[in-house]
Symmetry: C2
């Protein structure tokens, strides 16, 4: 059993607060990670506030985790004590279904174990990375090189792989006109990654204040989505739209920006249904699809790609007493571009 | 000028009635077709009843036209007097934009001239095939072989090409599990065509009475869409769903029937927006797209394919006095599977 100090929403509508709990005994293939940094993803907020209606309380958020291995099970071969390790959206899957065998563990047909708000194989609730340690099967953690700035690495574990996997699935790169809708955690990484892969990137944002930032992230174009004239001028101009908006928004106005047979890839999961007008798909054979994080092999590949290309998230590091404020500012878009919790001062009581 | 006797809805809310009008003088590249049969498409009803809010009255419907060439312009080379000819959704396009040059005239960027409810290059309204003749540029008509039963050919010009083009675009055939949603004009042809191409076809229908018919059309499976258990049992089982429903319906319940990376192809154009839940696309990388009729080359290819494979629509032939009844029965799905107007008794007054 591992004593853990974390932060939880104890019941619906309450603010997040300190929460001590005990993690399962680590198994022979598990590594125990002392958490250094954990990103604050919009999804954490949806769940903390029960916006999908499926939150189990107490709820400990956190699935963009970077830390150092402090203990290894007897059969662990991929990590040794002292290594940097990353954990993302899930800490387990069945391992034997067709998606798991194909490196698509995120689409496990038997049952993925999410890092937060899930149920582990012992039948216990999973508590996320707003805490000082986590236990993961070694196959569900990735190696983090020592060369990258760690606060900016944490968001790669969910936001980064979400953008990276979509770009790779669709072979996005040189010769493609790509729009990125929303310049938040996923969006700003989508801009950096797509530009690094050779695509011509345009940011679609509701805030003109983001125009300059879009350029410094690597975008060559900017469209203010509240300006109907700018949208009209951009009709039928993109091969892909990477839609990172997590709040409900109108797909139809953006579908019209796609070229013939262009594709809009949804990465955000608005809790509410959205109106879809079939005409916008039929008139240009346009496509909507979605993508969900990435598999373990692809997540490691993304980390290695980011290390090779010097890509990390732009972050604002906060201490755990600022989580509620960070939630509110994330919802209102007032962050460049991801809050990251510094967990290094969070010690177990016996240690303090 | 060509005197024409047809049937029109004169003003919103009125019943269709006899309507005499004059067509443009035929040009040197035009053919004049004496109409034998014209299919009754659900789209005609949407427009007759102004359900898209863009109907110009008087409105003469009809864009599934088969007839015999009675006059050819001086420069016409593809048709001669006495040939059978077919006209579908459009009678003209710019001819020089990129889609037109690629055989995708239906996606003309300059302006398609629909056979009905459009405006032709002379600035005059276009009147459709619920009439005794039509004039078309020879490049916008297809050759019809004498070997096929003509009433069943008429619906191929819109319903048939709509299904055929979608199947060909996505390379549907042997090894694919294909669901066809809706067993109307387009749906029953989608079943026949997909089965003829080697796909394993399942019909999704709200009416258990269609089960037997589904089998005789070539489907090997049938799912009653009102039965939640049947839908649940079919989760993640189709590579493609060909969605032919023209009235508003819930996409989300059907998306769940798609396999990982499966595609739902919308062929119907419900006048209202439909709720889309992003989760259903994201969780299995599923895709929604649409397809719109086909180009002229592909339409001829479809006619030739149908002739080679003995495929025509199953139709109920009616005289023009039954159009309103046919509209109502089409909306309620009480037709197997397409009404086709016999226009042979509709003569101009000077001829009668």
């Amino acid at each position: 059993m591992t004593a853990t100090k974390g932060y939880a929403v104890i019941a619906p509508g309450e603010a997040i607060e300190p929460f001590s709990f005990v993690r399962n005994t680590a198994g022979e293939l598990d590594i125990t990670i002392e958490i250094l940094y954990c990103g604050v993803c919009h999804y954490d907020i949806h769940q903390a506030r029960n916006e999908y209606g499926n939150t189990h309380y107490p709820f400990v958020p956190g699935h963009e985790i970077v830390g150092r291995v402090v203990k290894t099970g007897s059969a662990v071969t991929r990590f040794k004590i002292g290594d940097l390790a990353g954990v993302g959206y899930f800490i387990d899957s069945c391992g034997h279904c067709q998606p798991c065998r194909s490196g698509l563990e995120q689409h496990c047909e038997v049952g993925l174990t999410p890092t937060q708000n899930g149920t582990d194989k012992h039948g216990k609730p999973t508590y996320g990375g707003y805490s000082n340690n986590i236990i993961a099967h070694e196959n569900y953690a990735v190696k983090i090189p020592e060369t990258l700035p760690l606060p900016g690495v944490a968001p790669l574990l969910c936001a980064g792989i979400t953008a990276y996997s979509a770009l790779r699935q669709w072979g996005i790169g040189k010769g493609h006109e790509v729009a990125v809708l929303g310049l938040g955690g996923v969006g700003h990484l989508a801009v950096k990654l797509a530009a690094s892969m050779g695509a011509k990137v345009t940011v679609l944002s509701g805030s003109s204040s983001k125009k300059e930032d879009a350029g410094s992230l690597g975008a060559s174009g900017f469209i203010l989505t509240s300006d109907a004239e700018q949208l009209k001028a951009a009709a039928s101009s993109f091969d892909f739209i990477i839609d990172t908006a997590a709040a409900k928004h109108d797909y139809n106005r953006y579908l019209q920006l796609l070229k013939f047979e262009g594709t809009m890839i949804l990465l955000g999961v608005p809790p509410e249904a959205t109106d879809l007008v079939a005409y916008h798909l039929i008139s240009g054979r346009r496509r909507i699809t979605g993508s969900f994080i990435g598999g373990m092999k692809e997540t490691q590949e993304m980390i290695n790609y980011c290390a090779a290309n010097g890509i990390t998230a732009d972050v604002e590091v906060i201490t755990p007493d600022k989580i509620e404020e960070a939630f509110d500012r994330t919802v209102s878009g007032a962050v460049k571009y991801r809050f990251v919790l510094d967990m290094q001062e969070t010690k177990n009581e016996e240690q303090s």
